[in-house]
């Protein structure tokens, strides 16, 4: 994009009502997001694949070097910790509900709305 030209945004949604297939359309929505994520995962894997091929072509290292590389226990511990961080992020919504229960928090949100709306 050259400096003087305004940025152009293309229409991303096709005109026409989008059909949904499952009895709950949220399943369609979730499936669509899962496929988008799968796509991005595939893009990342392809990039890693290219990285290994370029490294080999440039004489840096090969895919075999990656296979044969032995992680130390400390390396694996650091990785395992990173895995746990990912899990905590992904399952946040599920764990959050339990945290509410443990905190015995009043789940009646509308009561809170009512309170702040009517406290003056």
């Amino acid at each position: 994009m050259s400096q003087e030209e305004p940025e152009v945004t293309l229409q991303r949604k096709a005109k026409g009502k989008r059909p949904y297939y499952f009895s709950d359309p949220d399943v369609d929505r979730l499936l669509s997001m899962v496929m988008a994520l799968t796509g991005e995962l595939s893009v990342t894997r392809d990039r890693l694949d290219t990285l290994e091929r370029v490294a080999k072509a440039k004489g840096l290292f090969s895919s075999e070097d990656i296979e044969q590389y032995a992680l130390s226990d400390a390396d694996m511990e650091a990785r395992a910790a990173r895995h746990q961080t990912i899990f905590k992020e992904v399952t946040r919504i599920i764990v959050g509900e339990i945290e509410d229960l443990d905190a015995k928090e009043d789940s009646d949100y509308s009561a809170v709305v009512s309170q702040v709306e009517n406290d003056g």
Partner: protein
């Protein structure tokens, strides 16, 4: 036939892609292949083993129509998952083709405007885009064929060229030319004496089916029309980059500005199903008008529903309700013989044949089915001699 993976042939009009943009497009192609080869066969299984029986139990007979098969299939979880994924794959296909074009939209327009003067380009800014193209975006391409974002815009054409390749999973050849190639090959084999000197391709889009007529009939003057300016600008740049002269003009196939009796051959490729009941009559009548006596009209399409099993018809009909192809169903149920006769073709019986695919270098799914119309290995050709 081999299993060689083939990527689209690079030409000067095609937008450049970054590593990840290309990887995203490759994912969609693989996603579609997965749907066709791994999930599609299960549809027949669930129909036979659990869906059809529900209809039989209620009606004491098997389903006989698209609607009756749909009554039970639309309730089946496998069909729901397949449909939901197929629709998603179509959306991801357009999205993956849009990303590099949006980034380079100005450069692509400038580059196309500077393409060498091979053939010609004649636009008509006053042409009204027909309602059957503006009511919904056909096959879910956001903005359809006609939307223009900037001056001299080619975006929709650039997106379409790439998306067709991904859609067909390479099964239409490295230049998406299989429909044209197959028709030219059939003509040369069946009518070796036929030497057209003036050819018209209607609804040409980016000219991917047009170019085989230029290479196939070297002495012919080839014209191509479409309603959408971004398609035509891109088509002209694309053909020019390949050094193939085509005279592109912005016209509606229902009312062409060419003279009576002026073409030896009039063709179209998957155009008819994207029109309407009124338009298709106008188009066939125009074919008759512009053809010279003895000239040939040939429309390449997917096969009519007649004679198909109700279950196969239901799946083949998927695009009607699920991929913004509002005329798909009706166009596959037309009385094509009467259509030709009523449009002036009264000297010869219309042709309704299956023509083998010219492109056989990649693996094929060998079926016509929702999401895979390039996979049949054959094309349906409807035509008539004047």
């Amino acid at each position: 036939m081999s299993n060689a993976y083939k990527e689209q042939q690079v030409h000067d009009a095609l937008p450049a892609t970054s590593h990840d943009e290309l990887a995203r497009q490759h994912f969609v192609r693989s996603f579609k292949e997965h749907l066709v080869t791994d999930l599609h066969p299960g549809l027949k299984t669930v129909y036979e083993k659990r869906a059809k029986g529900k209809f039989v139990a209620e009606h004491q007979r098997e389903p006989e129509t698209i609607q009756e098969v749909g009554q039970v299939m639309k309730q089946d979880s496998h069909y729901q998952a397949w449909s939901s994924l197929l629709r998603t794959s179509q959306e991801m296909m357009w999205s993956s083709a849009q990303i590099p074009v949006q980034r380079a939209i100005q450069e692509l327009a400038t580059q196309a405007a500077q393409s060498p003067a091979v053939g010609s380009l004649r636009l008509n800014p006053d042409l009204q885009i027909p309602a059957y193209h503006t009511a919904v975006d056909i096959h879910c391409q956001p903005g359809g064929y006609h939307t223009e974002y900037i001056e001299n815009d080619v975006a929709q054409g650039a997106i379409y060229d790439r998306a067709v390749y991904i859609y067909a999973m390479g099964q239409m050849g490295v230049n998406n030319a299989d429909m044209g190639d197959s028709t030219v090959a059939w003509l040369k084999q069946q009518h070796p004496e036929f030497k057209p000197t003036r050819i018209l391709d209607m609804g040409c889009a980016v000219g991917h089916s047009t170019l085989p007529y230029v290479s196939g009939f070297e002495d012919a003057e080839v014209h191509a029309i479409d309603v959408a300016a971004p398609m035509l600008r891109y088509a002209h740049a694309r053909a020019s980059s390949m050094g193939l002269p085509v005279h592109f003009s912005q016209q509606n196939a229902e009312t062409i500005d060419f003279e009576d009796n002026s073409f030896d051959l009039v063709v179209s490729h998957i155009l008819l199903h994207e029109t309407s009941s009124a338009a298709i009559k106008n188009i066939i009548r125009e074919c008759h008008r512009v053809l010279k006596p003895g000239g040939m009209m040939l429309h390449v399409e997917t096969p009519p529903y007649e004679g198909m099993e109700p279950f196969d018809t239901f799946l083949f009909d998927w695009d009607s309700e699920n991929n913004n192809e509002p005329f798909w169903r009706k166009s596959h149920l037309l009385d094509l013989e009467a259509l030709a006769k009523d449009s002036g073709f009264q000297n010869h019986k219309p042709l309704q044949i299956m023509v083998p695919s010219a492109f056989q270098e990649t693996k094929r799914t060998n079926t016509f089915q929702g999401g895979d119309f390039g996979g049949g290995g054959v094309w349906f050709v409807y035509g008539c001699q004047k």
